[in-house]
């Protein structure tokens, strides 16, 4: 039950977690996240790491596309740039992981700005198609700039070490992923409490009047591009250090679409939505797999249908959410919360 929403200062009213109940739940959540790796097996930990990395990338895309309204079909390419930057810095220069992490983000942000700056004059569909071109061109470079990227063979990366401690399995890497996710999510949530976040949304909703409100469109669109690709780069760095190899086929157009699907299903422009979306879109294919596993007890070749079924379900999820729940899981979550707000005393 969560009533008693009474405050005596503006500070209390502006807080992210506004009531005691919410704060208690947050502590429970943090405890659960701390206990999880000791309880879960390798497979679950593997999924948890991948989900965490997806959250970082999805938060990035949601800032650009969900909040600032600039559609990008090239997010995976920026994740790729982060991954390659990290792999190259580690293998060629021998830089430690902890330095590679921000550098990968910065490198992706730099490319984000290079793609974003000329795109400022474009809008909507034209921008969308320009980012599609960026995706195609970067994919081409990953594959064909062999001296730098290792071509289709890719680059192998050793397990990261921080202060001599090797993060060489799912369990250990979890303790890199989770703090990064927490920092990213907190920072993103913070941003939307300030004028920068408000400016993003203003640009999305009405970019002309935003300019008359004193917002420098060019600067803020560039901020959105830079920040979004920075987070993509960080996700890419985490990813390559977790998987320990990077090859071009990891960052196809379909991967960009998957990130878009995450923010649509989760909730456009909502940080919480990015988290929900990333979790949901990572779990669903696995759920499908285990369901087919059960079915294959009766019809042995059921597993052959896994890949096409996943493709269909992926498309269906996008369409169904857009048609029936355009504000995504975050909105559903809000309704559930509202329902329980006064429960069991709603009358």
């Amino acid at each position: 039950m969560r009533i008693g929403d009474y405050k005596v200062s503006y500070g209390a009213d502006e807080a992210v977690f506004r009531t005691g109940t919410v704060r208690v739940w947050m502590i429970v959540l943090f405890l659960a996240m701390a206990v999880f790796p000791f309880w879960a097996g390798d497979y679950l930990l593997y999924m948890a790491n991948l989900t965490g990395i997806a959250i970082v990338a999805a938060v990035g895309l949601n800032i650009l596309t969900g909040a600032a309204g600039q559609i990008s079909l090239g997010h995976a390419a920026f994740v790729g740039i982060g991954a390659y930057t990290s792999a190259i810095l580690i293998t060629k220069l021998g830089l430690p992981f902890i330095i590679c992490l921000p550098l990968s983000g910065l490198s992706a942000a730099l490319f984000g700005v290079i793609v974003g700056a000329p795109s400022m004059r474009m809008k909507g569909l034209y921008l969308c198609i320009a980012t599609l071109a960026a995706q195609v061109i970067f994919e081409y470079l990953f594959k064909n700039w062999e001296s730098l990227t290792g071509g289709i063979r890719g680059i192998n990366v050793p397990a990261p070490t921080i202060f001599g401690f090797e993060f060489n399995n799912e369990f250990r890497f979890y303790f890199i992923t989770v703090p990064v996710v927490i920092i990213v999510v907190t920072a993103a949530r913070n941003l939307f409490r300030t004028r920068v976040g408000r400016a993003f949304i203003a640009i999305r909703d009405r970019d002309f009047s935003a300019q008359l409100m004193g917002i420098n469109l060019f600067r803020y669109k560039l901020y959105a591009f830079a920040l979004s690709s920075f987070l993509a780069g960080v996700a890419g760095c985490l990813w390559v250090n977790f998987i320990k190899i990077v090859t071009p086929e990891h960052f196809p157009l379909h991967e960009s679409i998957r990130y878009l699907a995450m923010i649509i299903v989760g909730g456009l422009g909502s940080v919480l939505g990015s988290i929900f979306g990333a979790i949901f879109m990572t779990i669903i294919p696995e759920v499908l797999k285990s369901m087919l596993n059960i079915v294959s007890a009766f019809s042995p070749d059921a597993m052959a249908y896994l890949s096409p079924l996943q493709t269909v379900v992926f498309g269906l999820l996008i369409v169904v959410f857009l048609v029936f729940e355009p504000h995504g899981l975050a909105e559903m979550w809000r309704r559930v919360k509202d329902y329980f707000r006064l429960w069991p005393f709603e009358h």
């Binding site: 004059r121 474009m122 569909l125 969308c128 890949s307 096409p308 498309g315 048609v323």
Partner: protein, 294 residues
């Protein structure tokens, strides 16, 4: 010199097919302001329809061909009624994503129904290549071009003179006033989707006839974006011109650059051109920049 001419000739042949597919794309965009990311999958499904009628059911070529048109029209109709009708007035991102979702559904369904194995049409045209001087064009390219051009002309005439075409143009121009003139705007949306689906299916059929069919045939659909950006999203003449330009650019790049540049230059070139164009003209070559009001 002959090498150059051959590249141009092949570029024109492929460009004609692009023109046809882009025309379907532009029809849909003009009438409904929706950009159809599932164009490639409409092509792929069209090709599979043909395969089903002709190879699996053993029908002759012409009836199969007509059935493909009917089937694609039905697909376009169903898609518009079931999904896109609900998306009117939604933000661009939603509309883009809904057609991307649709493409995923169609791709998965195709794999479920026809498997991901590679399939071929039986030979439809005389085998002998067309030879002009030293320029050689493969027969499938040539006949594909002929069919594509015929279809483009039919669509253009339909759009220009037929009652439904005029109504569609009116709708594209101004939905509200078309509505008040007694045109059923919603029917026009459905018609546009059906026609767009037919154009794409014909394109898919031609491309399937050239290179065989697989569920991933729809990837060719991506090339449509450089085409329509070149031509301007809402110009039918632009789509046709853009189709030829992209076809020629692709072939020239493939013919001359592959020695100097690694990888598949042919696929990359249209996108590089696209970026260059957007850098100079952010609304495409023939697209119109609107006067904004407050």
């Amino acid at each position: 010199m002959w090498f150059f001419l051959e590249l141009i000739a092949n570029g024109i042949a492929v460009g004609g097919v692009y023109a046809l597919i882009a025309l379907g794309f532009v029809l849909i965009y003009k009438a409904t302001s929706i950009i159809n990311f599932a164009t490639g999958e409409f092509m792929m499904i069209g090709a599979y329809f043909f395969y089903t009628f002709m190879v699996m059911l053993g029908l002759p070529a012409i009836p199969s061909f007509l059935l493909v048109m009917l089937g694609s029209a039905a697909l376009g109709f169903a898609v518009e009624r079931a999904i896109l009708r609900h998306m009117l007035g939604q933000p661009t991102i939603s509309i883009v994503m809904v057609t991307i979702g649709l493409s995923s559904i169609l791709l998965g369904l195709a794999e479920l129904i026809w498997t991901s194995d590679f399939k071929n049409f039986p030979p439809l045209f005389p085998r002998a290549p067309i030879i002009m001087g030293e320029v050689v064009i493969r027969s499938n390219f040539f006949w594909g071009f002929v069919i594509a051009m015929a279809a483009v002309v039919v669509f253009a005439l339909l759009f220009k003179y037929a009652k439904v075409g005029v109504a569609m143009r009116a709708t594209a121009n101004d939905q509200m006033s078309a509505f008040s003139m007694g045109i059923n705007v919603r029917t026009m949306f459905t018609v546009a989707w059906s026609m767009g689906a037919i154009a794409a299916a014909l394109g898919g059929l031609i491309i399937g006839n050239i290179g065989g069919i697989q569920p991933t045939l729809g990837m060719v659909g991506l090339t449509i974006f450089p085409v329509v950006i070149l031509g301007g999203l809402d110009s039918i003449a632009g789509a046709v011109v853009g189709g030829f330009i992209v076809g020629i650019v692709e072939n020239l790049a493939g013919g001359y650059l592959h020695e100097y540049v690694p990888g598949d230059v042919k696929e990359l070139a249209p996108f590089v051109v696209l970026v260059l164009i957007l850098l100079i003209k952010p609304y495409g070559l023939f697209g119109k920049e609107e006067i904004e009001r407050l």
